[in-house]
């Protein structure tokens, strides 16, 4: 399916072939030593952020500017006419008059899909409530594929461990959906009550993915090529004492990684709070900042593809 003019709303909308197209485009952009400022010259991207998310907005803005495009935007809902009661659909109908592509972040689940039904220019979902954040998933996949090219050719199955809040963490849900297109073994480790929801386990089972649960973080570390950490949120725990206890058992330290495979890499969508100790940063395993950096070529790729300047 051609990308030109396409909306980027949910990772579930993308086939394996689509995902490979994005990864290959990101790789090609990253391998260019000179900035490709001619690519989208004259095109305008609107960032429509109804809730603050500095890193996602900056990453999209940096990506667009590196492609030679220009950026206009709203960084919070307080400055938009939704405060005056304007509907989301009308806001989109107005912004599409100005821009060639719109990146939207919105606190309501499904807002980006609604926007895509209204807009004639491509909508890129920069996060809709607790639902989807597809550019994060593409950059996660790109990061894993850069570390382990075997992900794409399937020559050797990778073992990927997800740890932390697997129930509410949208990044691990979307990543699981995307990984269903590839040959991986999944290891899950989560506090009781925050396990991966059944519908995602069914998705994995439907494609024959090998999914197992690890009893603790240390056990997951021993098996994994990739350890994908997520944040534990205090509001998910009714009992603050329980949160303190769980928080301690879902924190990795440099010491815990001493027996890990040398090739193990730790990923995290960031920001981290307590779940990765600072001393992990100095180990060969820390890869979360490089992962965030991959957001630029991946978002350049997405923008270039939907604007029709990359094929």
């Amino acid at each position: 399916m051609t990308f030109s003019g396409r909306h980027v709303i949910s990772i579930a909308d993308f086939s394996r072939g689509d995902i490979l197209t994005v990864i290959n485009a990101a790789r090609a952009i990253e391998m260019q030593s000179a900035p490709r400022t001619e690519l989208v010259g004259g095109k305008l991207m609107a960032t429509l952020f109804f809730e603050p998310s500095t890193r996602t907005r900056l990453s999209f803005e940096a990506a667009m500017q590196k492609l030679g495009g220009r950026v206009i935007g709203l960084s919070d809902a307080a400055s938009t006419s939704t405060k005056k009661g304007e509907s989301l659909a009308d806001t989109i109908r107005m912004i599409e008059q100005y821009a060639d592509v719109i990146v939207i972040r919105h606190p309501r689940d499904g807002a980006a899909r609604l926007a895509s039904e209204v807009s004639r220019v491509p909508i890129i979902n920069g996060g809709d409530g607790g639902n989807q954040h597809p550019s994060q998933t593409f950059l996660d996949l790109y990061t894993i594929a850069k570390l382990y090219p075997a992900l794409l050719d399937g020559s050797a199955p990778l073992t990927i461990a997800f740890a932390g809040d697997l129930r509410y963490g949208r990044t691990v849900h979307s990543l699981l959906t995307a990984l269903c297109h590839f040959r991986v073994k999944l290891v899950l480790v989560a506090p009781r009550g925050l396990e991966m929801p059944a519908e995602y386990l069914q998705q994995a089972a439907a494609v024959g993915m090998d999914v197992s649960e690890a009893p603790n973080l240390q056990d997951a570390i021993a098996q994994a090529d990739i350890l994908y950490m997520t944040r534990l949120q205090e509001e998910r725990f009714p009992d603050p004492l329980e949160f303190d206890h769980i928080k301690a058992s879902y924190r990795i330290t440099a010491h815990m990684l001493s027996d890990a495979r040398q090739s193990l890499r730790v990923l995290h969508p960031l920001p981290r709070i307590n779940e990765i100790a600072i001393d992990v940063d100095q180990t060969v395993h820390a890869h979360y900042f490089a992962q965030a950096g991959n957001g630029i070529p991946v978002r350049q790729a997405l923008l270039g593809l939907v604007l029709g300047v990359l094929i």
Partner: protein, 157 residues
């Protein structure tokens, strides 16, 4: 010419009185019978309700008869959501002229609210869209927020 009303001698004994013209909704899961009657009946409709009737297929079932009216497509969609598997018979002049299981749409558009309180369709003036992803029991997924629900969790619009 009007056909004579059915009697015990010209038909099997009915558990709920026959109607001349209208719609009979049969094989309603017992606990949904009053809900179906409330959903379908308009203010001046003449409605007969049978509850806990004997059924070879279901053990016990509910039945609702509405005199003088046939159901439109939207009403049938609402019925499909709350009583999938029910049968709908169109009665004209005491005769069943059409009988079928309530048609199950692939998508319910603006029939029920998404059960996710944070779904954008519960905050904007925008129609809900719930795609059927499973039967027995009926499950749907919101096209917008991508959450899945059992039909029993939904509230009709």
């Amino acid at each position: 010419m009007t056909t004579d009303p059915p009697t015990a001698t010209n038909t099997k004994v009915r558990q709920v009185e026959a109607i001349v013209h209208g719609t009979v909704i049969d094989h309603i899961p017992g606990h949904m019978t009053l809900k179906v009657a409330n959903l379908l009946a308009r203010e001046n409709d003449q409605v007969s309700i049978g509850m806990n009737l004997r059924s070879a297929r279901m053990g016990r079932k509910g039945l609702v008869k509405i005199s003088g009216r046939e159901l439109d497509e939207r009403t049938l969609s609402r019925l499909a959501l709350i009583a999938p598997g029910a049968t709908v018979s169109i009665i004209r002049d005491y005769q069943v002229i059409h009988k079928s299981t309530v048609p199950m749409p692939k998508t319910f558009e603006d029939i029920a609210r998404c059960a996710n309180p944070n779904c954008v369709t519960n905050h904007e003036k925008w129609s809900s869209r719930l795609d059927v992803i499973g039967h027995e029991p009926l499950h749907v997924r919101c096209f917008y927020c991508e959450r899945s629900f059992a039909a029993s969790e939904l509230t009709l619009v």
